[in-house]
């Protein structure tokens, strides 16, 4: 059995709103094994960010964990007190955010910020600054020692994202959560950041939970992939299972939509017709049935079970061709 750093079991999260209860996540089961990269892919509104906020316990005030457990290193995050949570965040679990420019504080030098996050370590400020500089050169920032005195606005977007990655890894976390870390960057920088994350992950042996809506980035970086749609994890498996043998109709449709996989130049690109269903009035049956090309009678009535295709490859679907 693979030992898991993070083990999410049967997690359901909802938001109380004036218009009704939004069932943002429903019955999510996901494991992040030690020192592996797990990618979560899905379109806007599928619940990726809600899932991370539940894992790191930084949820909106109207959010409610309706059911399930989030086990991080064996303990259920829900039953920890705020001081205990603070002991985990930024030490065992750290995070890289989507927008590097707003993740850094504009009025402090990056050296100050990188020293401050090591507040738990009882070493001298000088030693902390040295560690910060070492980490900066590790993420590919030239002339690191002198650049510690710079402010975030002195750096470009790609550089800032390298700095936030350096800060997240400075504490040597067991789990790094990366929320769309390359979305705000150009393609040339995107591949640089992926390569960097890959190298650092191999060095530090930390597990990464990587969120993105960009399929190709997931394919290149991750070991395991979960595909989310409208609050459910519709398919999960190894990266090869998902990209080479996708089973769920949604995963297939999503892969087909990607213009970079279409070799022939086409004037009209494939799309997934229809809209994401309302998460307040959930449709009966399979969540994808009204957009699914293969939907049958049973799909409109009952929620599909989690079907195992191979040992680690499962999908929520009635009509799998196995």
């Amino acid at each position: 059995m693979i030992e898991s750093v993070l083990d999410i079991r049967n997690l359901s999260v909802s938001y109380a709103t004036p218009r009704g209860t939004v069932q943002a996540l429903r019955r999510i089961n996901l494991k992040v094994p030690r020192a592996k990269v797990v990618g979560l892919v899905g379109e806007s509104g599928c619940g990726k960010s809600t899932l991370i906020s539940a894992v790191i316990r930084l949820m909106a005030e109207n959010a409610l964990v309706a059911a399930g457990e989030i086990r991080f290193l064996g303990q259920d995050m829900q039953y920890l007190s705020p001081p205990e949570l603070r002991g985990i965040r930024g030490r065992d679990m750290s995070m890289v955010f989507q927008d590097p420019m707003t993740a850094l504080n504009p009025v402090f030098t990056i050296g100050r910020q990188m020293v401050d996050i090591q507040y738990r370590d009882g070493v001298s400020k000088k030693a902390k600054a040295k560690r910060a500089a070492d980490m900066l050169s590790l993420v590919g920032i030239p002339d690191a020692v002198s650049r510690l005195d710079n402010y975030p606005h002195h750096f470009s977007g790609g550089m800032c994202q390298r700095i936030t990655i350096a800060m997240a890894l400075l504490v040597q976390p067991k789990l790094l959560i990366a929320d769309e870390p390359t979305t705000a960057l150009d393609a040339t920088l995107e591949v640089q950041i992926i390569r960097l994350l890959k190298e650092l992950q191999a060095d530090f042996q930390c597990a990464i939970l990587f969120i993105s809506h960009h399929l190709n980035v997931i394919a290149e970086l991750c070991d395991f992939v979960g595909v989310m749609y409208a609050g459910e994890l519709v398919e999960k498996g190894s990266v090869r299972d998902i990209f080479q043998r996708p089973a769920h109709p949604y995963t297939r449709a999503l892969l087909e939509c990607d213009p970079s996989v279409i070799e022939e130049r086409t004037r009209f690109l494939p799309t997934i017709p229809g809209e994401i269903p309302s998460l307040i009035d959930l449709p009966e049956g399979c969540i994808f049935h009204d957009r699914c090309p293969k939907a049958e009678q049973v799909c409109t009535k009952t929620r599909p079970p989690e079907v195992s295709i191979t040992e680690h490859h499962t999908a929520l679907c009635h009509c799998l061709e196995v």
Partner: protein, 329 residues
């Protein structure tokens, strides 16, 4: 065929400091070059793609065509009429023919106006209020596959894809001939991205529109544009018919950009042409060929002088001292 839009040696410069400060600092050229002499033409019914990283000057080209930034030199001709140096009033009629779709779909819609009022604004500004405005707005919404009842909503009630479609509808309001689309798919999910691009293709077929599409997404450009220009620090390093540029590229930057895309196959072997670092700032524009600081094939000459224009084939041009050889077949 006569081009609809012709841009000739367009140059846009931005002032970096005041005249007084420049005088005391003995800076006789207090400018940076946003766009450094680009030329291209768009034929009626065609799509021209402008590709480049952030900060390469793509949006500045679009804004110059719309008369939103002052042009330093060069010409912009729309249907044989020069647009450079026109006064606000004399430019106004051309804005009916050239519409702009802004980059940020939600941010470009006023949060205080209903969709109906947003779509009525172009008519109001140009004093062309149709008698049957509600029908006209319903027609525009239908054209972009939105239901006419959406006119009663505010922008924050729309999804990203819907907001983008309202942007398309607004651009279509005055029946333009040319639409400039600034990053029409940025920030959209892949399935929605396809819908927007298909919508634009359909409108082009139905109405004979021309498009200038600005994007950093090469996968999109490959499918939608007839011609493409690869932009870097205000210059077109390579331009030509899309198929030629993608399959017979001569400039190392084009090759690097094409190889920089992540592939959806986890087992793919990447022959990445690694370009390190990032696009330099305009203030510190490198000497010689601007790309030499990141070019894998850089040589001494590249640091000294900018290459002359080289012609590789019909409409296919590039600027490089040491171009790539054309792959056989």
């Amino acid at each position: 065929m006569e081009p609809l839009l012709e841009v000739d040696q367009l140059r846009v410069r931005f002032k970096t400091k005041s005249a007084v400060k420049a005088f005391f600092e003995k800076d006789d050229d207090p400018y940076i070059d946003g766009v450094m002499g680009v030329s291209f033409a768009i034929a009626p019914g065609q799509t021209y793609g402008l590709v480049g990283e952030s900060g390469s000057g793509k949006t500045t080209v679009a804004r110059a065509v719309m008369g939103l930034v002052p042009v330093h030199s060069g010409a912009i001709r729309y249907n044989q009429n020069n647009l450079v140096g026109l006064s606000r009033d004399r430019f106004k009629p051309f804005r009916k023919d050239i519409a702009l779709m802004f980059q940020d779909p939600a941010g470009s819609l006023s949060p205080r106006l209903k969709i109906r009022s947003i779509l009525a604004e172009p008519f109001r500004i140009h004093g062309m209020m149709p008698k049957n405005l509600p029908q006209e707005i319903a027609r525009l919404l239908k054209m972009v596959n939105l239901s006419p009842s959406m006119g009663d909503l505010y922008p924050h009630q729309l999804s990203g894809g819907q907001a983008r479609r309202v942007g398309v509808a607004r651009a279509l309001a005055l029946s333009p001939k040319l639409i400039i689309a600034d990053e029409p798919t940025a920030g959209l999910d892949v399935s929605v991205q396809g819908e927007i691009l298909n919508l634009m293709a359909r409108l082009q077929d139905d109405m004979g529109l021309s498009f200038l599409i600005i994007t950093h997404n090469l996968a999109v450009v490959r499918h939608v544009s007839d011609h493409v220009a690869i932009m870097y620090l205000g210059r077109f390093l390579e331009q030509g018919p899309t198929q030629t540029v993608f399959h017979q590229m001569r400039h190392p930057y084009t090759q690097a950009l094409l190889s920089a895309h992540a592939s959806p196959d986890p087992d793919a072997v990447h022959h990445r042409i690694s370009i390190s670092g990032e696009i330099p700032g305009l203030v510190a524009r490198p000497h010689g060929c601007e790309f030499h600081t990141r070019c894998p094939g850089v040589q001494e000459k590249c640091r000294r002088q900018f290459p002359d224009k080289a012609i590789a084939g019909s409409d296919h041009q590039y600027y490089c001292h040491y171009p790539l050889s054309v792959p056989e077949n």
